[in-house]
């Protein structure tokens, strides 16, 4: 038996690890289940969290009817899951999956049959199939006089449950039609089939009787929980509040549980109904550690020690968002800054307080007795036995038509005791169906993704490399795929690369007027500091812009101070109506708002500031003195520059201008803004990283140090730092004043090309946006600029919603392949990496980041209420760090519905372009990654450019050649006409 403390430690692994929303780092929602194979994990997690294991049947059916899933995929999936026991059985399963009706009552089924004329016309949703042939065959037999006796017998047989009037009428009709079977073959055959299906369904019902639902006092628990929800969430929010309410929670520094007990014992005579009398109960827990309190609460409720684990898990997961945040308080200092004095953990404090409050509520409810029984009754409609029989009969009826199985056949099938064929109608539950459907859904994508890559890469001459004049290095982000594609369409003078968007610059960045924050992947702890300062000769201009910003914020502050003061009331009376102008500006003229802010704040700031990053010459500033962080030394710089250049395979053939473009996203009124920023920069915009990288790489001393490392960059090469805003598609360039005059014309040329690319990029994005007017690229660009500033836009951009693939290798092999903004593109050149050192480094960083993004979208999409944040529309910000739904709810984690609505839940299809030996040796050094792929949390293929073959990693870790079943790749001269017409996901194709 384990102690409460140990149990809670264990349960805590299940909790979401989301940080406060000002930093959003994507991670695998089911990280606690990573030891299991993927589908097992899905199904286990569904049980633990009460979530859906797969999408709904109707969702997959819709995908099937679009052709997104086809019969090949279904058969492949059945085979892979071991459900394939023969051709015939597979056919039955397919029909059973396709013909599945929604949940229906007996009346609904009969209504469909009689009023929708489904007994007169066959079910031909998926084409006529074999039904008509089967009917003709049966009719011919009846005319010949065969089978009629059997049919008559069927009509005479009494069904165990008795027939409704409708059934009787159907049987009477059938008896009529029997006299002239050739006159109404369809109507006769359908009625015969229905009668048989109904009988079969009744038999199956008797075979699998559901156990009667056990009613426990869970209803009381649920009611107590819902009544105390506002209370529990309010006290925990008070504790975690970063400054929304002006009053601090008293005694918060003593720990959460003592503070709550102190509050509960305070006599005010004003406690809400459900909490009356809690003062005495809570008084017993004064000065008691929360772990001890939990133990005594469990004992009081007569929970036996064996059930503690189960019970505490339920208690914790019923408010998993808040519990997760309380757990985070332990390990991180980014939530609240209370000193930890109590010995109990914050999580156990939370659970103890929650259990105490809920227990009291329960006893209050019990003492009220009959008064509340009404509220405890469930409201969910219960389907009766008859409803189940009829809806299953309807299911069989439709499936048989797809299969071309007539009434007589079904009758013989029933007697032939070939029950396994019928499993799909009564043994298959939603999870089993979902597993097949989902695997088929993913197989389809994997097929297309692999064959597109193979088709394109094998046609490319990988040795060819022309001298480019511009080399552009972007983040690996899927959103940069289209941007890079359009740059490359300008011709061979452009070459692009992808690498993690912090460009090796792992810093603590102190932005002007803000607190310093780490700008690097979350797993890295920065040791260096970079600060933004005002250039000496720009103080006046910037201070003007700063004063503008400050004034506006002071004005809004003096209006808005919610606890009303004399000053704020005066401000409201005199000037409150002025709020109308920003409201109009940001709702009706968002682009104007963008232009104003750009001109008066961003532009000024860009020109008037510089960054301090190097030591020790300029170490006059005070920031360095009182921190433990250092500036970069020359060696640090050379190491970072060399590391990045090697990783992307750029060690020779340098162009005259090399541009490093960081990215981030700006949107207004969007609590999830950080989720759109650069993940490699720790959920922050990668502005400073690109800027500092270019500054470092341009220094002659660093270049010299690079030569010692075997990379010699010609003097004619200049690095430029830039920043791409993926929401409004603007690109800014840093430190233009340091550019040598020989290169200014080059920069002008670059700007022209980038302006073209970002306008095209905006236009490609706009195909997803219903309100965009796409008359020209410029109007699309204007649309996204406005969109980013619109305060009423729940979808400022779609973020990673299209992510599905990751390609690690030389860009030359995928250049010209239209990937529909769905692929993370990581540049890697295996020819300079014989020892696989670079690959190991890449995989260690790239795989967790990309699968983290991919799986977070996957699960938020799978069950948006449980794993995601639900609809964005009623969201409410709490504690300045998270969101709740409406007035009181659990803290919402994951992604909101508006972010995932166009997402396809597929696991990341990854391709590494390298010799097989290199990949094998890299994977051996990375057991975590290897296990992750073996457990199928992502799909990994390896492409060898010399043999032009693609292999796939199997479940046991071996490699199997991938068979290109339909490796046909569409080719086109331009993607533009296709993009103009479509708003859905597109097939991949080659552009020449």
């Amino acid at each position: 038996m384990s102690t409460v403390h140990e149990i809670l430690e264990h349960v805590a692994h299940l909790l979401p690890t989301q940080a406060p929303l000002d930093v959003f780092v994507h991670h695998n929602t089911l990280h606690a289940f990573e030891d299991l194979a993927f589908f097992e994990a899905l199904e286990d997690a569904a049980k633990v969290f009460g979530a859906r294991a797969y999408m709904a049947d109707s969702w997959y059916l819709e995908a099937y009817s679009r052709g997104r899933i086809n019969d090949h995929d279904l058969m492949d999936a059945l085979a892979e899951l071991g459900e394939f026991t023969g051709r015939e059985a597979a056919e039955w399963i397919r029909a059973g999956l396709l013909a599945l009706p929604g949940r229906m009552s007996r009346e609904q089924v009969l209504w469909h049959l009689c009023e929708d004329h489904e007994l007169d016309y066959p079910y031909d949703r998926y084409g006529p199939g074999k039904w008509n042939g089967a009917v003709a065959h049966e009719t011919a037999a009846l005319v010949r006089g065969e089978g009629a006796a059997q049919l008559r017998a069927s009509l005479r047989e009494e069904t165990p449950l008795g027939w409704t009037d409708e059934d009787r009428r159907i049987a009477d009709d059938l008896a009529e039609f029997l006299h002239t079977p050739e006159a109404h073959p369809q109507r006769r055959a359908l009625r015969y089939l229905w009668i048989e299906a109904l009988r079969l369904s009744t038999d199956l019902a008797l075979e699998t009787r559901r156990p009667a639902d056990v009613v426990t006092d869970e209803a009381v628990d649920a009611l107590a929980r819902s009544l105390t929800l506002p209370l529990v969430t309010k006290v925990v929010a008070r504790y975690l509040d970063r400054g929304m309410g002006p009053w601090k929670m008293p005694r918060a520094e003593e720990g959460f549980f003592p503070a709550v007990v102190a509050y509960l014992t305070t006599r005010t005579m004003l406690k809400p109904w459900i909490m009356e009398g809690i003062e005495e109960v809570a008084a017993e827990y004064q000065g008691i550690e929360s772990v001890v309190a939990i133990e005594s609460l469990l004992k009081k409720q007569a929970v036996s020690p064996e059930q503690w684990h189960e019970r505490l898990r339920k208690e914790t997961l019923s408010l998993k968002g808040w519990a997760g945040l309380m757990h985070r308080v332990e390990a991180h200092d980014d939530v609240v800054e209370y000193p930890r004095t109590s010995r109990s953990s914050a999580l156990s404090d939370f659970i103890a307080a929650k259990m105490l409050i809920e227990m009291h509520a329960r006893s209050r409810l019990m003492s009220q007795g009959a008064a509340t029984t009404g509220a405890m009754r469930t409201n969910t409609p219960v389907d009766t036995v008859a409803d189940r029989i009829y809806s299953r009969a309807y299911h069989i009826f439709r499936a048989c038509q797809l299969l071309g199985v007539c009434g007589g056949d079904l009758r013989t099938l029933r007697s032939r005791s070939e029950a396994t064929l019928l499993d799909v109608f009564h043994r298959w539950d939603e999870v089993r169906r979902g597993r097949v459907w989902h695997l088929a859904f993913e197989k389809n994508f994997q097929q297309r993704a692999f064959s597109a890559f193979l088709g394109h890469a094998s046609a490319v001459d990988s040795a060819r490399r022309s001298a480019a004049r511009f080399q552009v290095v972007c983040c690996i982000d899927d959103r940069e795929e289209s941007f890079r594609r359009y740059l490359e369409e300008m011709g061979d003078q452009f070459e692009t690369f992808g690498t993690a968007g912090f460009f090796g610059v792992d810093v603590l960045f102190q932005e002007l007027g803000k607190e310093p924050a780490p700008y690097c992947p979350v797993i890295v702890t920065p040791k260096h500091v970079v600060s933004e300062v005002i250039k000496k000769d720009h103080r006046d201009r910037l201070s003007l812009s700063q004063r503008f910003e400050e004034t506006t914020s002071t004005i809004s502050q003096s209006f808005g101070g919610v606890p009303v003061t004399l000053r704020s009331s005066f401000a409201v009376v005199v000037g409150g109506a002025l709020a109308f102008f920003p409201m109009i500006l940001r709702t009706l003229f968002p682009r104007l708002s963008h232009l104003i802010e750009n001109t008066f704040i961003h532009k000024v700031r860009l020109e008037a500031t510089e960054v301090l990053y190097d030591s020790p010459a300029s170490s006059v500033d005070a920031a360095e003195a009182d921190t433990n962080f250092a500036r970069y030394s020359l060696e640090d710089m050379a190491e970072r520059v060399a590391g990045v250049l090697r990783a992307i395979g750029l060690v020779s053939g340098f162009a005259d201008m090399i541009v490093f473009i960081g990215h981030g996203s700006s949107s207004k009124n969007n609590p999830f803004r950080s989720a759109y920023d650069c993940g490699a920069c720790g959920g922050r915009p990668g502005r400073v990283n690109a800027r500092v990288f270019a500054l470092m790489a341009n220094r002659p001393e660093v270049r010299e140090a690079l030569v010692r490392r075997g990379i010699s960059i010609p003097d004619s090469t200049v690095f430029v730092g830039a920043y791409h805003d993926t929401c409004n598609d603007s690109v800014v360039y840093f430190d233009n004043d340091r550019l040598p005059s020989s290169h200014t014309s080059l920069l002008v040329e670059l700007r022209t090309a980038v302006d073209y690319a970002r306008a095209r990029n905006a236009d490609e994005r706009c195909r997803r946006f219903a309100f965009a007017t796409r008359t020209s690229e410029q109007s699309s660009l204007a649309h996204v600029e406005g969109r980013a500033h619109h305060i009423a836009e729940p979808r400022p951009e779609y973020g990673h919603a299209t992510n599905a693939m990751c390609i690690i290798g030389r860009r030359a092999l995928t250049r010209g392949l239209f990937l529909d903004r769905r692929a993370f593109l990581v540049s890697y050149d295996s020819s300079i990496d014989p020892e696989a050192d670079i690959l190991v480094g890449l995989l260690r960083a790239v795989i967790p980041v990309c699968t983290g993004i991919n799986l977070e979208y996957f699960f938020s999409c799978l069950d948006n209420e449980t794993y995601g944040a639900g609809s964005k529309l009623p969201l409410n910000i709490t504690c300045l760090l998270g969101i709740i739904t409406g007035y009181a709810s659990d803290l919402r984690t994951g992604l909101p519905q508006q972010m995932i609505e166009i997402h396809e839940p597929v696991r990341l299809v990854t391709v590494i372009e390298a010799p097989l030996e290199t990949v094998t040796s890299a994977l051996q050094r990375l057991p975590a990654v290897l296990n992750f792929v073996k457990r199928e949390w992502f799909v990994l293929g390896v492409y060898d450019a010399t043999t032009k073959s693609l292999v796939r990693v199997q479940r046991d870790g071996s490699f199997a050649p991938w068979d290109a079943k339909h490796a046909l790749l569409q080719e086109t001269y331009s993607e533009l006409p296709i993009l103009a017409r479509n708003s859905d996901h597109l097939a991949f194709f080659s552009v020449h």
């Binding site: 809004s556 969007n670 007035y887 709810s889």
Partner: protein, 460 residues
Amino acid sequence: MSILPLFVAVLPPLIIGSLLLALIGVAVLQLFGSGDREHTITEIVKFGLSGSCLSAIGSGAILLAGPDLTLPVLDLALRPAPGQTFEFKLALDHLAIPFVLVTSLLCGTVGAFSRSYLHKDPGHGRFFFLLLLFTLGMEVIFMAASFEVLFVGWELIGLTSALLISFFFERRSTADNSLKAFLAYRVSDTALLTCSLLFALGGAEGVLISSHEKGLLPEGMLSIVIPALVILAALPKSAQFPFSAWLPRAMEGPTPSSAIFYGGLSVHAGFYLILRFQHQFVVPAFFYVVLVVIGILSALYGNLLAKVQTDVKSMLAYGAITHVGLMFIEVGFGFERLAIMHFVGHAFLRSYQILSAGSLVHESRSLGVAKRSSIFDRLKRPALFEWFHAVALDLSLRDGSQPTSMVNRLERLSSRIAAFEEWYTKGVVGGLSTATERESRVVDSASHASSALAKEQVKS
């Protein structure tokens, strides 16, 4: 100058007319349309709201330019029964025009806001229908020339408010909170309806807009009861003490509707009723005293509870309660113009704050969240602070608790009805039915389970 009379005749009715047209359009589309109606609906709404907005601005200009006159908007003489007439009359005067203007501008802006905000939401059409209905209700309140007509608008905003709180009806809590608001509204509705009946009873005319001198209240007891009822009608509608509990819980709907109801307009309806009433009638002095007292209590209450709030929407709700309280005080002291200015400023500011509440995580400065400091933090006796904190928290949780007492009674009634139904279906119908053996066995096991449950409940 010859064209002015034409404007005077046409513009004011258009405020209502364009809204009505759009409302009918959306209703027809919702009922009979098929396929993707989103675009058409937003176009219709755009037409209705901007039409109403422009005509309101036009009428406002005429009225402010001219002398103190009253513009007729609508005058329908309805004959519900022979010998009875009901005058449905709407009019505009100097007092009403700021309210009508703010309503039109705010509803117009919120309509534009919702176009993209509600995009792709399954309840899109429903939302815009309710938004139009609400706008209409608001305009009717502000232009109502009699208590009866005002009551029509009063009911419209009560209904739309309740329906929009439970807009996301998949979640049970929205229905609970909607019920809470609805119950408060019922109190208010009853008071208002009684009020207009009493006017008729007292033989006086409940005329709310007229260019004549101030009207007189009926004599006797009624001269005390009617003002008291007017206050009682205004308090729940404006979430004033002691009826303020529903307001923070009402923030369950989509953000734009919260902004316009609980920041901008609906929360000021009670205030307008008070303002209009004392503007039009000679009222006894106690009326003003009560207003001031209630205003002070509400302002203190809102201000105290705001100190312990943790989510932005509750915070803004208590802010609204406080400010409307201040407006009551202003009217109580007779500062009519100040109160109107206060209303205009507050309506715009609060709506904007609610609309842009999502930016708070990243731009916490822009909404002006106060720095943590207060007298209580500096108190020498922390125990006293602790007590105040507990009081504020308890009061706020009281506001947050479900409307149990009322619900319990309803629940008890419904469970009795359910028990009767069960007895009827099983005992009476069940005995007559020709259920086969198997079916009755199924029913038996079900009834066994339910009776076991019943026994358990009796025990507990």
